[in-house]
């Protein structure tokens, strides 16, 4: 490590003003940022920890919407959303390992938008609203390609509002060494239709599989997407798997998620 300033504000307003400083960087659970700093791939002058802000923590359900504070850990979501939104709790309970789940936060995950992260699939798959200190952003507008989001410089995710579906499930095919998603699919069924979001697979990052959404909205069963296939073009082709394999897995994971959610 190298020297940097560390501040831990107690309110969103204080955090926002701290973020206005030069080379300031918001710190959630640090599960990505700290290793990145150790590798010297990032060297912020000031770390603004968000974990001391009580308003940014906690899980609550009201009027069919689950609201999660931006600084809420995966472990908290896994336990507290289990009753209201089991599909999301299941996703949270399989992120990384216990150490990661007890440090990492939903805000950190969404702000980073790693192409193999789990939470972006849930946010996009539910049509969530990303609430920041300045505005509200619809998930469909928020994700802008791998490691890229609609967040402005210094903007802080204070909470995420996820419409609770009638049924949902997340299926993840893990890369066996790191246990990151080689392909992850979140399926959510609402009264007005089904949403399907895919993580891990595409060079564009998390994205919706609209053909499957249409088919599943008409008939919410695994057989509804039997004839559909995903093109290998644009899929990640790397040491862990070819684009063709990932494209194939998108179909399999979607069917598994539908079967598990039905």
């Amino acid at each position: 490590m190298y020297n940097f300033e560390f501040v831990q504000p107690g309110s969103v307003a204080d955090a926002a003003s701290a973020m206005a400083g030069e080379d300031a960087q918001a710190l959630g659970g640090g599960q990505t940022l700290l290793p990145t700093m150790k590798q010297r791939l990032a060297s912020p002058a000031t770390l603004v920890s968000l974990t001391g802000i009580a308003d940014m923590k906690g899980v609550s359900a009201a009027d069919g919407v689950l609201t999660i504070g931006g600084a809420t850990t995966h472990a908290t979501v896994a336990s507290e959303a289990a009753g209201s939104f089991p599909g999301l709790a299941g996703l949270a309970s399989h992120i990384g390992d216990p150490a990661v789940r007890n440090r990492g936060t939903i805000g950190g995950s969404l702000a980073n938008n790693d192409p193999a992260a789990c939470y972006p699939a849930a946010a996009l798959g539910t049509g969530a609203t990303i609430v920041t200190n300045t505005r509200e952003i619809a998930a469909d507008d928020y994700f802008q390609g791998m490691f890229s989001t609609a967040l402005d410089e210094g903007e802080i995710i204070t909470s995420v509002r996820l419409p609770i579906p009638q049924a949902s499930n997340y299926q993840k095919f893990v890369q066996p060494a790191s246990r990151f998603a080689l392909v992850g699919v979140f399926v959510a069924k609402y009264a007005d239709g089904v949403r399907v979001a895919v993580t891990g697979a595409s060079e564009e990052g998390v994205h919706r599989w609209t053909a499957a959404e249409e088919a599943l909205s008409a008939n919410f069963s695994a057989s509804a997407i039997e004839g559909l296939s995903v093109a290998a073009d644009g899929m990640i082709n790397d040491l862990h798997g070819t684009g063709a394999y990932r494209a194939h897995l998108v179909g399999v994971m979607t069917k598994r998620a539908v079967a598990a959610a039905s």
């Binding site: 095919f173 066996p176 060494a177 790191s178 040491l239 862990h240 798997g241 070819t242 394999y245 194939h248 897995l249 399999v252």
Partner: protein, 762 residues
Amino acid sequence: MSVAKPLPHDAARLHVTGQARYVDDIPTAAGALHLAFGCSKVAHGTLQSLDLAAVRAAPGVVDVLTAADLPFANDVSPSAHDEPLLATDSVHYVGQPLFCVIATSHLAARRAAGLGTAKIEPLPPIFDVETALAQNSRFEDGPRIYERGQANTALETAPIRLSGQMEIGGQEHFYLESQAALAVPGEDGDVLVHSSTQHPTEIQHKVAEALGVPMHAVRVETRRMGGGFGGKESQGNALAVACAIAAMRTGRPCKMRYDRDDDMVITGKRHDFRITYDVGFDATGVITALDVRHDTRCGWAQDLSLPVADRAMLHADNAYFIPNMRVESHRLKTNMQSATAFRGFGGPQGMLGMERIVDHVAGHLGLDPMAVRERNFYATGAAAPPQSTHYGQEVDDFILPGLIAQLKDSADYDARRAQVDAWNAEHDVLKKGIALTPVKFGISFTLTHLNQAGALVHVYQDGSIHLNHGGTEMGQGLFQKVAQVAADRFGVPMAAVKITATDTAKVPNTSATAASSGSDLNGMAVRIACDKIRNRMAAHLAELHQCNVAQIRFEDGYVITPAQSYTFAEAANLTYVGRVGLSATGFYKTPDIRWDRIKGEGRPFFYFAYGAAISEVVIDTLTGENRILRTDILHDAGASLNPALDKGQVEGGFVQGAGWLTMEELVWDDAGRLRTHAPSTYKIPAASDAPDIFNVALWDGENRADTIYKSKAVGEPPFMLGMSAFFALSHAVSACGPDYPDLQAPATPEEVLASIARAKGV
């Protein structure tokens, strides 16, 4: 009797409490320095210049060495003098050390190493088999060819003929303790090197060459390694030599340990192989002719590649008599890490090739592969004279038919195979497979002169015993097995025997602890040393009591004469007072072996070790995911010196072998960079990957060869039991369609899925 007891590992308590001392745990004197290599980022090129100004200026840096700073030999090769410690005018792989940083801490050295820049004029690299063959980039002048009979003529007349090809991936050793060395300068140019090595004598030899001193000026000590698997047979040379040179240059203790990423990028791995075959057989599956070709990528330096590739050829028959057999082996020089020794030393690749051929023949004929195996086994029993291997060694100890019959019975193989077929008929998404694969593995170094060992035993006047031998402890339990031999020879409890670190000043000119030979060679040397002392003690007591030497017994901590019993301590003291020496060396060499590796003829092995495994697996035909459900193993350790330790070797060997063939995948990119250089990208099997049902038993039988207490070597042979998981996967995939699955290794989920498509003919 202390032999044959299932005693725990001698250091088990130290291992689990964290007290076991590895090289990096040895306390160093104040002022100790730490080393790190700066490595090439280019796979092949001409080294034009190094800019090390920023390295020298970095915090904590004491000195930086380049090839020009080395005092004498710049070579860490175990064979052909083709591995400079630091690159001179050319670089040959991504990861090749170019310079060495000496700094006040491990981290300071590593950080500074990252600041160096090298100007390298790139040359076209050679990575793949085709390019290497096209450019005749190889070790030795041409291929080695071993042949018996007339393979090509017999292929022409064979009733049925098949050909095929299999790619077999390499494997990272992934010892838990990465490579490490510590050099402590002594007086008058002497140096003491602590090295995590399977081969202390080689370290001593290379350090002496590098310092320009006789071997007597260099002492190497190795108490234990945190795993070796062959990866510390030659790969520790660079660290030990660098530390010794730095220690002599600075006058301070110097230590080096590779970070995991550095270790994976710099050091060699298991050789990958391409096996190409043309096989002739009849309708019952009897193989009459085989022409098999091995192409292996050896990396940039010769290292141990010739004997590794030789051993692959020597195991290309596995357990089968093939009257007309030809093996052609190409050892290709490529711009990658220098492939090196790894448990099995080429044997697994050669053997896997043969089992693949059997699997293919069976698939073609629609037979249970086990039936084809049994039809081609070497002859056994009183009625049949022994048959010879393709290199002319009689297989006169072939026990596989009996061993397999017992295993099939205990694991209920025939019924379970039928159950698997029935289950597959009813299930579309999941398919099961089951396979039994045998192992016949030759024991001895194929370089005949290495089959020797020495021991040094002292009995102190209080009856305690100091035991030393040339073998090294890497977690396998060698020290305990050899200590059991010593305790048995003197008839004393284990506590009387002190196990001590391997030390080139105590036992010289040792061979690597390799080729599974540790217990065979060192156990015998220790027995010989102990018996010398025991005979002297007996002779002295016989003289005191005017009795016959043969009447004196060493039992249960006592030395018993017809007239009187002494505790062992009393007997030792009496012998000491009687002015009789209580220290002895022992020396052993394996008898009855001879080998001409150019002709491919002789009797390279003292005996064969055998084993067999049955694995049952399940695959998901939608994703290729797979699991081992159950494995049953019956393995031949002869009359085991320690059944607990031997079973541990069998279990670990199987899991490591199955990992090699099902999940461990090395990936280099187009620039020759190893992309799988950390546990986040390279998956080794964990405890949860072992079969849920895992029945391991040792075959109840003595070694027919005259080995230590009639035991058999057990380090490498069980590794190849992992083949059963691979061929069970092949069986499961074959249930998906009419065609042969042509499964390649490693059978990752993506590969299994691809082979399902091949089986379906799509």
